[in-house]
């Protein structure tokens, strides 16, 4: 999407864009239904599904009791039975109660059955810190899911992607997990009309640059863009890549970028140890070693459960200033 087109497009919040995508999916295909905790009367814990039950009825916007393993498993069964469920899990921390279903069943059935069965299931999960919700509602565990063969994991970071990644995820014959960073819901941005099915496995270059590549995903993307804007003023040209797909990783877009810029700064709101950032950095080290002018730098979540107090929470995850400092230090270490 070029900046000039964006001017003519209607702006929408990420939340509205996702709701629009859900509404369209429900209207287009009777097999599609939404289920999760408080998706109906309450309007969805983050108000994404608000009003949809009135439009489509309670069977298609189906409230579930507090049974994460139960309703994710039921989603898998419904998918096996010919429906196209979209299951919502309030927060990634709660998804751990359904980890068994996602990792042991959704991800394995196709393989274990020798290719006979497949699970066309979409699971939407809210992730991330930034709302002072402390250590049981704020983590970024996307990397855990991205570890698992048999799953696809995506993280729309813009309203445009919130609007258009869902239809492709729904059409996918495999289980697809969509991570929605909670601080993005109120972000506004241009959303263009449908331009045919979009590829959800490709990363996007959100800003072109020549001296370093900043790799970001989900809630890190707006921060990376803000930082790139600031370092530009200091004369540093940063390219920003939005991963979009966490599994599979778009290794070729990443590699081509770093081979041009010769430096990489990998961001991750999740923890550093064993995190997705480590996977990206190792991949780049393998594919770009001879093009690198400096060691790859990672900026990731501090090794601590996310604290409640605002200043501590801010300190626990990479902020724009941290990214600016790391980028400048990487490109102009002498300054």
């Amino acid at each position: 999407m070029s900046a000039t087109d964006a001017g003519n497009m209607p702006a929408m919040t990420y939340r509205e864009a996702m709701r629009e995508a859900l509404r369209e999916a429900l209207a287009a295909d009777d097999r599609v239904f939404i289920m999760g905790e408080d998706v109906a009367d309450y309007g969805g814990p983050y108000a994404v599904t608000k009003g949809l039950h009135e439009e489509f009825g309670r069977d298609r916007v189906r409230n579930t009791p507090l049974s994460e393993a139960g309703f994710v498993g039921a989603g898998i069964g419904a998918a096996l039975g010919g429906l196209r469920p979209i299951v919502e899990i309030m927060t990634v921390n709660f998804s751990l109660l359904a980890l068994d279903q996602l990792v042991n069943t959704a991800a394995t059935l196709h393989h274990m059955s020798g290719g006979q069965f497949n699970v066309p299931l979409v699971v939407r999960i809210t992730t991330g810190a930034g709302r002072q919700l402390a250590a049981q509602h704020s983590h970024s565990l996307e990397g855990w899911f991205a570890h698992v063969p048999g799953l696809k994991v995506i993280a729309p970071a813009t309203p445009e992607d919130a609007r258009w990644m869902l239809p492709t995820a729904l059409a996918d014959p495999n289980p697809v997990i969509i991570f929605e960073h909670s601080v993005l819901y109120n972000e506004s941005g241009p959303v263009g009309p449908a331009t045919g099915p979009i590829d959800i496995t490709k990363a996007a270059i959100r800003r072109a640059g020549t001296e370093l590549t900043i790799v970001a995903s989900a809630g890190m993307v707006p921060k990376a863009l803000a930082a790139a804007e600031q370092v530009a003023k200091a004369g540093v040209s940063a390219e920003v890549i939005d991963l979009r797909s966490l599994r599979p990783l778009d290794v070729s877009t990443l590699t081509q970028s770093v081979q041009r810029t010769n430096r990489a700064l990998v961001l991750d709101e999740g923890w550093r140890t064993g995190g997705l950032n480590a996977e990206v950095a190792a991949t780049l080290a393998e594919s770009c070693f001879w093009s690198l002018d400096a060691p790859i730098v990672r900026l990731a979540g501090s090794e601590v459960p996310i604290p409640y107090a605002k200043h501590l929470e801010d300190a626990a995850i990479p902020q724009v200033d941290d990214i600016v400092a790391a980028a400048i230090n990487l490109v102009r270490p002498e300054q």
Partner: protein, 333 residues
Amino acid sequence: MNSESPDAPTEQQVQHRLLADMIRIRVFEERCAELYGETKIRGFLHLYIGEEAVAAGVMRCLGDTDSVLATYREHGHALMRGVSAESIMCEMFGKSSGCSGGRGGSMHLFDKDCNFFGGNAIVAAHLPLAVGLGLANQTLDRSDAVVVCFFGEGAMAEGEFHEALNLAALWKVPVLFCCENNLYAMGTSLESSESQTDLALKAASYAIPAWSVDGMDVLEVHRATTKAVAAIRAGGGPMFIEFQTYRFRPHSMFDPDLYRDDAEIEQWKQRDPITTLEAQLLGDQLITKEVVEEMWQAARAETEAAVEAADAAPIEPVDTLLRHVTLDNEVGS
């Protein structure tokens, strides 16, 4: 099976079929135990010997559009559901022609043509799947199709059991929950794993009709299941049956069986579902010794043919290793 249709089998025919069914499972599995000794079958092997009446009795009540989910102790269920002895044996030999392409083994038998959804080895994790399959039947106007989910009594201590029964009752899905209570979960006895050992009572607390049946009596299993399946087809919502049964063999081939007395095992063997039905039918002159013998021979022939085929079958080439991870990643396909 519709008792009203003109070509419905007679009661005696049903009895004969059930006996032959149980014999098929028994012979097949006794051979599996030998093949394990010969190292042709590896990994975990969980035998169903002693419990055959449950799979045989239940499965004869089902039709093609019904769906079945089972545990890792599922050779009998797969056979009864129509998965061929040959494809099951090939699977256990790890061959390409196995019903799961050699990816599953004994614990993960699958067959789409038979609506046989595994072969699930995470205790209780397939119960929510059954609810979802039931929901799909309900939504897609297949509400006369029943989903039958088998699990052991050990599964009733898992959270997923409770979540699944609650969801099933709230949504009134057409699912028959079949608990195979063989009194042990590996080496843990029913009394030490359940605070409430009346399992039907426990299930009934979810407002699901639930009752208990002698799982060593295949005719009783068949009668009870016929009723339950008819009620579910008529829109009665989920139901639960506890089949009281017993496994004669250890939990798996690795189990030294230290946790129960030989006397207890011997006592249950007196109630062997196959010899019991044989004796009953012979006594009532509803079958002849010759017919019984033919059943055993037919089962042996079927099993031996399966073993020969599995022995001769090619293995899956290693360059197909990454097949069947995601549907669009069919390397080599």
